[in-house]
């Protein structure tokens, strides 16, 4: 194919690519499929006897302006990212609870009985984690509803994830500060205790990253709306 044939298609696809925000793989997949579609449409015009450059231009015209199409894709990218975030919450929080229970009950991380304040905080954390996991499960289910606003569900997943980081992460830090010397001992001398801390921290970081990614896909969707209004 000549450069002049590719130009209108390339320019349109580059513009589409620039307008989308979300997981890189999902974006590549979207642009690749759009390219196939545009190539097919241009081929059909050429078979009809139109010169290559005009064929490409007509294919681009039929596709529609990026400002109109990109928001539709962006909704799907936001929904996908929101689903990931909600799924991560629904799996990771119960897994952390079970994991820590195992650490305590297995006797692999022995220590004196926890002070009352720690017990209260642990109770708060369990209730919060269970509630958040249940809400997240519901949000995952909602992402399968075609008619639900995908952006609202994604926004709810993002907020839930941030609440999880603040409440579960915060109560975990508070528990360890209340009982700092014991926590330090566990951190430095018990391999099981240490790995439990590392895994928990990792999960909190992942939740945060996932929430921020969702925020980014949603902000791109809002920007699309503003362009559409203008």
């Amino acid at each position: 194919m000549t450069a002049s044939l590719r130009d209108p298609l390339d320019a349109h696809l580059a513009e589409l690519d620039r307008s989308l925000r979300g997981p890189a793989r999902a974006r590549r997949d979207i642009v690749r499929e759009a390219r196939d579609g545009l190539d097919d449409a241009a081929d059909a015009y050429r078979r009809g006897g139109v010169d290559p450059h005009t064929a490409a231009r007509l294919a681009v015209r039929d596709f529609g302006p990026v400002a109109e199409i990109a928001p539709l894709y962006q909704d799907e990218l936001a929904a996908g990212q929101g689903r990931r975030t909600a799924l991560l919450l629904a799996i990771a929080l119960p897994a952390l609870m079970v994991g820590w229970d195992f650490v305590w009950q297995s006797g692999l991380a022995p220590g004196p009985p926890a002070p009352a304040a720690v017990k209260v905080l642990a109770r708060v954390q369990d209730v919060a984690a269970t509630t958040i996991a249940a809400v997240s499960g519901l949000l995952v289910a909602l992402t399968f509803r075609r008619t639900r606003s995908p952006r609202r569900v994604a926004a709810a997943a993002m907020v839930t994830s941030m609440v999880a980081v603040v409440v579960c992460g915060g109560s975990a830090i508070a528990m360890n500060l209340v009982n700092a010397s014991e926590a330090w001992l566990r951190f430095t001398t018990q391999p099981v205790g240490l790995s439990a801390y590392v895994v928990s921290l990792g999960v909190m970081v992942l939740l945060n990253v996932s929430a921020l990614r969702t925020l980014r896909t949603l902000r791109a969707a809002r920007k699309d709306d503003r362009h559409r209004v203008e």
Binding site: E33, A34, D36, G64, E68, E76, G80, F144
Partner: protein
């Protein structure tokens, strides 16, 4: 048109898997060219239907080229059947109302 696009897409996939452009061609052919919507709206609609579990999409080789091909799922078939029933009920109601009244005096 946007509200009906999802149902129309499901219906052109009923007789077998197709890729994006083939779906667009089928929509145009079946409507006798009357269906005039930006082709770019079809691709996000396919993603939306895939997210909802009504289609499954995957890359496969068609005619020597890699294509993202969509197949109707069981949930998609159910959704299509439901949409058909809704539409035929809706259109018969509208038709009954829109039908010109019989001239006065004619026995009913």
């Amino acid at each position: 048109m946007r509200g009906h696009l999802d149902g129309l897409i499901l219906s052109v996939l009923e007789d077998g898997p197709r890729h994006g452009y083939a779906i667009i061609e089928a929509l145009q052919a079946r409507s006798g060219g009357a269906l005039d919507l930006p082709t770019g709206t079809v691709y996000p609609a396919l993603r939306r239907l895939e997210r909802a579990g009504r289609l499954s999409g995957s890359w496969s080789t068609v005619g020597g080229r890699e294509r993202r091909t969509y197949t109707l799922t069981r949930a998609g078939r159910h959704a299509l059947a439901a949409q058909r029933a809704d539409w035929s009920e809706f259109s018969s109601v509208v038709e009954a109302v829109l039908r010109p009244p019989r001239p006065a005096g004619e026995p009913s």
